[in-house]
Subunit: 514 residues, 2 copies
């Protein structure tokens, strides 16, 4: 390991481990591993071809080329596959591989679209896949692609990375599935479940049409379990499975002073200041230890089961490393560590605005002040109910609530007036660890690596999983494969080869689930 | 009175009175009045010529033309006058009129520069003076200027207005002084004090060179009293004298979260939110009744004398009208009316900023949050001392204060970190009502109108009076003449003729002070 890499990791405060470098003890593991080792050049060349196709969600023509590439690759492997379209939507790719002995059907979901790219920020062009022998920021050097039919001069290591948009998020998952099928076929192994593939072309813009696709193809997508193959493994590089995500709901508050900005000399001290009133209102919502003071805010939380509590207790400590990396002295709530904090609904101020500050500040009493907040929801929290608790809190603080800009008449009537505006919200999702099929997923994934498999009951972010659970009424498990330092959504996105290989191994194991 | 005018006034909630229409009982009053009535056309034509010269402070060439015009008009009236220059400064006009019998010297200060103009917002071009028979917003109609040597078709009334930049602020004061001299000369009356004039060309950009002018011409400007002839009369249209102004000091606060914005899903609830911490900090500074909670904030207030308390008790109630006009249900501090509130130092939030709100809000935990505040000071408050009280308060709230952006090391060390930045500040000024010369000013001004003369111990705003009191060590009295609804600093600035005439009458009386 190079010194510069060590330094990067120490800075992050996270213990480094070549954790997901897979070491199989059994025959299946050996055969998959030797397949992907011996065929590494071909696999990487094929992935290079895939990543060369631009995949920005808004680029309809190239999104179509991605879909065709995937459909054709599936077909080569004997998967009945087709491209589905809907008016005004990017296409999705569907594939089906039936297994004669199967009693259950599993949908493998991934997406092939990517975030927009600002080429000027990339060291290498985002759609010119580039191999390096280490992370760019750790002094990695470019590796030349071999001539057609030849191998690499030195064998690829797990620390090599391929750079390009979508190498990790989320074309790596598609590539891992294709390669896992090849590995099984080359070794005469057959999937033990019915496999369905669904590859989304709009995930990075919020999967606005996924619900319509699920409704239009309910029959074809009928299944017992969905695997949502996206996201990074743990920052310790240990493999993980994730069983839930927080939901979200967002709202805006505006409080009012006079009907125009006033001269702070003539009116300061006399006219109510909306920036102060907003500050007092926000301050009333949380105490100095991060406990939310909105009545009932914690009441609807669905308690965690024994398996979930056990899983959380086994997760590695990430707090010290994060605090140091982020320049923080302490957590908002010192009594809860990172993973515990995700088990509670959050109340977060996204932004504040009242007139202007600093050099552009004027000598005024502002006429209004606004804040935008979000609540990350946990299982049990209904978005609408949580917003109602917020509104109740506003009223308990003496505020009269309006839903559009108030008239002067209303302003004269109510000393405390707040405009409340909110969106619809997405509930949290969490698949119970005790679900029998979920236990089978855990067993399969655990076989894919010698490293301890981490079980994360809930991710902090929000994914459109409720679209699936609502529409399809099946459990969902998230299967991440990418390295956590993949520059997801950012310039210089990359996949660490060790993580791509882990992806192949874990997909093979999941295909062989019974 | 037209119905639309009545309606406007009812909306403002302020009792209308033709208050400053001067009615003299004595001979001096009669003679000044009959002069300005009989010569109204000439006076307005001369004022028209003056206002036709653009006077935006930044327009050096035209500022020079204003100075020459004033100097020449002073000379015509026998005033020894000259233009003073300083490198990098707009010129000022100085004039001196000695009176053989005088024992005292009074400086009459006014300014001839004006605020910038956005012509597209003006109903008439700002430097094409336009007469109307009532306020534009009350349906006034334009009055044609008469041919040279002729009079108006109908005699001007006090409700007529002249529109143009600087008609009120502050060329009206210059015109009133020139006309008052004419009226005295026409009636064989002579000033009883030595008069000095100082006309500033940079007041609207904060008189940045006034101090240098005072220092360069200390001898020539030696005097017993300064009259600061600027600003509007009371909003009831009653005449007023003002004896002080609040001072000001301003500061910026920035509090910190993580060293970069964080995803609100992954970190909301875990990472401290600087917008919340800023809200809590600001909320700690004032209670819900507007009382400032910063220790010692009210301690240095210089108590008001009996004359000041008496004067305040006689000021008309303006609160109800202002609340209604401004769309407010109540004052910030319900226990103090408008004039009482000006006797206390204020703490005002000028603006708040943390990330963005509304449609541009992102799903982040912001990395910092800022506020800009000002303190309006009253007599007794030292700007630096008041800032120190604020810093003490920050520390009592657990904050470590920095004066530039903190390093990651400092951020890791202090959970509560605030950047404090401030300017120098201007102290409040207040001339005691009991000062003998001040009593003579009151007596003189009282003779200029039948209406009750209001004595206002302190204005809410800040004027560069401390430059004068510091440098010249003399009392200052503010003598306003403009109508309060003159659109000062705004498009469609105007002077109500009744106020211009009041200006002539009050200047004549002040020239005749002994």
């Amino acid at each position: 390991m190079k010194p510069c890499i060590i330094q990067t990791i120490l800075t992050l405060g996270i213990a480094f481990a070549n954790a997901v470098a897979p070491v199989f003890a059994d025959e299946v593991g050996d055969s998959v591993r030797s397949y992907r080792q011996s065929r590494a050049t071909d696999i990487l060349q094929s992935f290079r071809e895939f990543v060369s196709i631009p995949n920005v969600s808004a680029d309809g023509a190239n999104i179509g080329r991605n879909a065709i590439w995937i459909r054709d690759e599936l077909k080569k492997r004997g998967v009945a596959s087709k491209i589905w379209d809907l008016p005004g939507a990017n296409p999705v790719v569907f594939g089906e591989l039936r297994s004669p002995a199967a009693t259950r059907t599993v949908v493998f979901y991934a997406h092939f679209d990517g975030q927009p790219v600002d080429e000027s920020q990339w060291l290498h062009a985002p759609f010119t896949p580039t191999l390096m022998n280490a992370d760019e920021s750790a002094g990695g050097e470019a590796i030349a692609w071999p001539e057609s039919g030849e191998g690499f001069e030195i064998p690829p290591t797990d620390e090599w990375r391929m750079y390009g948009r979508g190498t990790s998020d989320d074309r790596a998952a598609v590539m891992a599935m294709l390669t896992a099928m090849d590995a099984l076929q080359a070794n005469g192994l057959s999937p033990q479940v019915n496999i369905k593939f669904l590859f989304d072309g709009e995930e990075e813009i919020g999967s606005p049409n996924l619900r319509r696709y699920l409704e239009s193809h309910r029959q074809e997508l009928d299944a017992d379990l969905w695997l949502f193959c996206d996201g990074p493994v743990h920052q310790t590089r240990k493999p993980q499975l994730v069983f839930g995500v927080r939901g979200i709901v967002q709202f805006d508050l505006t409080v009012y002073g006079a009907n125009r900005p006033l001269h702070s000399g003539h009116y300061g001290n006399w006219a109510p200041n909306p920036a102060l009133n907003l500050a007092k209102l926000l301050a009333s919502m949380k105490d100095s230890r991060g406990e939310i003071l909105i009545d009932g805010f914690y009441e609807s939380i669905e308690p965690l089961g024994g398996r979930e509590l056990d899983a959380i207790s086994k997760l590695p400590n990430v707090d010290d490393g994060l605090l140091s990396e982020l320049g923080l002295a302490e957590r908002e709530n010192p009594t809860r560590d990172y993973y515990q904090s995700l088990m509670f609904p959050s109340l977060n101020i996204r932004g504040l605005q009242s007139a202007t500050v600093g050099k552009t500040a004027r000598n005024i009493v502002p006429n209004e002040a606004s804040a935008t907040l979000d609540i990350r929801l946990v299982k049990g929290n209904e978005p609408g109910e949580m917003l109602k608790l917020v509104r109740n809190h506003l009223q308990r603080q003496g505020y009269h609530i309006v839903y559009s800009d108030p008239s002067d008449e209303l302003r004269r009537k109510y000393p405390k007036l707040v405009k409340f505006q909110s969106g619809g919200g997405t509930p949290a999702e969490r698949t119970p660890l005790g679900h029998p099929l979920v236990q089978d997923v855990i067993t399969a994934a655990d076989l894919a690596s010698d490293e301890e498999l981490l079980l994360v009951p809930t991710l902090g972010g929000t994914l459109p999983i409720s679209v699936i659970t609502d529409r399809m009424a099946v459990p969902v498990v998230i299967v991440p494969i990418a390295n956590h330092d993949n520059n997801q959504h950012a310039p210089n996105e990359n996949i660490r080869l060790g993580n791509l290989w882990y992806g192949v191994d874990v997909m093979a194991r999941l295909f062989l689930m019974k």
